[in-house]
């Protein structure tokens, strides 16, 4: 199993290298001029962004800055007013199978009649198709994904009985079941316990090591430097993007949060040296 997935990864990288030499054009996710508006007030305005492979990127910004909106608009979950999205150099419609999305766990009703394994299997629905039957291999795959997030013992548990952290792990397992190359997560660490945060970051780092692209909407500035390689700072418009080492600076944070961050708070963060 592990061997096979390793081969697939190599093949995918070879494919990219052959298809498109331009790093931006073949990036796992690139958006150009994306604007989203609720009514007349833009939530995301004319944003360009490129999210690299084999790296973890944090999307950072204050509440209402359009972090989640940018993700959803890139995925086509909410309509764009303008802008283009390309996934591995292709239009998103043809590359959907390579994307896994993890929505905010508060966005669904957890009293829904489903067990943990039912939810993980949802990640395979596209592959099963309308008339297909669920195979033993697919069930085993779902169980393996649950094991990766440390939830094997919970497979038959009703989802309403899970804690917040466990709900988040189930959502991550569902995304893993898709075997995607690009992972988009909306606040995966919001309101989870410390053990879950560690379990999630371990999984995300292993995805990164496999050459996948991981993009998280993130709210905890204290962990940015330890968890992520790249940052994308947004407050309706793009403020800055780039490696944590050069972009996660006090000046950029001030520009993003508009002075809403206390100076003492900024001092405590492991910030990059503005070189």
């Amino acid at each position: 199993m592990a061997l096979r997935s390793a081969q697939v990864t190599v093949a995918a990288q070879d494919g990219q290298a052959l298809r498109a030499p331009d790093p931006v054009a073949s990036a796992p996710l690139a958006v150009r001029g994306v604007t989203v508006s609720y009514g007349e007030k833009p939530a995301v305005f004319s944003v360009d962004a490129t999210f690299p492979a084999g790296a973890m990127t944090a999307i950072i910004g204050p509440n209402g800055a359009g972090k989640s909106t940018l993700l959803k608009a890139a995925l086509g979950v909410i309509p764009r007013l303008s802008g283009e999205v390309s996934v591995f150099g292709q239009p998103i419609e043809t590359a959907r199978a390579r994307i896994a999305y993890v929505p905010q766990r508060a966005s669904v009703d957890w009293d829904f009649p489903a067990s943990v394994i039912d939810v993980v299997l949802m990640g395979l629905y596209r592959r099963i198709g309308l008339l297909g039957r669920l195979t033993g291999a697919q069930r085993a795959k779902a169980n393996a994904c649950l094991a990766r997030v440390g939830m094997s013992d919970f497979a038959d548990r009703q989802i309403g009985q899970l804690s917040g952290g466990q709900q988040q792990r189930v959502f991550l397992a569902r995304a893993l079941a898709q075997d995607a190359d690009l992972y988009l997560l909306d606040e995966p660490f919001a309101g989870v316990d410390a053990a879950t945060e560690r379990a999630i970051i371990d999984v995300l780092k292993s995805l990164k090591a496999d050459g996948k692209a991981v993009v998280c909407v993130h709210h905890d500035l204290a962990t940015v430097a330890t968890y992520f390689d790249h940052v994308f700072l947004i407050n309706v418009r793009k403020i800055a993007e780039g490696p944590v080492a050069t972009t996660f600076t006090g000046a950029n944070l001030n520009a993003t949060y508009g002075g809403r961050l206390a100076a003492t708070h900024i001092d405590q963060l492991a910030l990059a040296d503005p070189a």
Partner: protein, 409 residues
Amino acid sequence: MNPFLDALALNAGYNAALVGIGAAMLGFAAGAAGTFLFLRKRALVSDAVAHATLPGVGLAFILMVALGGDGRNLIGLLLGSAATAGIGLLLVEWIARRTRLSEDAAIGAVLSVFFGFGIVLLTVVQTMSAGRQAGLEGFLLGSTAGMLFQDAVVIAVGGALAVFATWLLRRPMTLVAFDPDYAAALGYNVRRIDLAMMGLVMAVTVIGLKLVGLILIVAMLIIPPVTARFWTESSAYVIWYAGLIGGVSGYVGAALSTTAPAMPTGPIIVLVAASLFLMSLFVAPARGVAAAVIRHRRFQRRVHRRQGLLALSRAEPIHDDFTLRVLRGEGLIRPDGVATANGRALAAKTARDEHRWDIAREIHQDAGLTGRYDGLTPIEQVFTPDEIAEFDRRIGGPRALGSSLGGTA
């Protein structure tokens, strides 16, 4: 034999048998097709769709008479009702999506306007000289008196198609009901799936018009899945349980309505379904009211038992009557309130486990593990024996006593 049993055994005459079978099939189709409406929390849209069938009935009648045909041709009337129901459905969807009005306002507007227009058309129809208009008002509350074989065939074919489509679309509809954003990210067209779901509901509404009537068909779409939800935690099972509950309600309701002359079939079916719902509300395992009360009582007992044992271990007097009853009931104290040997042993273990938990929280800062401390979960279920031995080592004192008690408890 009694007329109700006759009807259940299909021995109450041709018409009664036809009505019974038709109602059972309709009930099954409505319950299954209504499942995702309920899971998507859009039950009331079906009310707007049902009321929007009425103008179609009137328009179809007028059109067929004008063309020189039979105004009461069932297929024609059903096609007409489906047409205006479809327009009503699209209007609700359009208003909710394109204007600032919410869906409930859209439902209210469409429901009342279409129903009002339908009543006006029926009044016009009554004044027409041509065509045999008698019986059209039966579409409001349903009528079984004139049920024909042809009507049963319409229900059987339409119902079977609706159930098949529900089964076919169960995965996309489950996904859209549970997590529409994720469904959209996977590439499913959420709007089209929602429309398909509402289309199924519309189909069942139209074929059920003649038997149950447009006002009560909503109950047959919603009550069975709501009832089924009490009995299962899996959306796939909700479909079939809801179908079964709907089918039984239809069959039993139709049989009951034959026991007295002029009993309205549709309302009786709805009452049977509602009584199944009430029964489930109380007796269902896990989700039922009775189960919740029992769970609460058990929990209360465990809390009192622990408090009582801790009081015994500290040799404090116990005044709470319920605590005393619990301890006495388990033979942990004598009727005069003095602890028995068994009671003293358990009290010592309870006190020791409290102490162990204190140590456990010091050692394991992991909230996932120590978060399970509620004073009620036995420590042996959370930690392994070697971990507990480590706690005891830190506590010190007479370890032999503690571990031997742990073995007997």
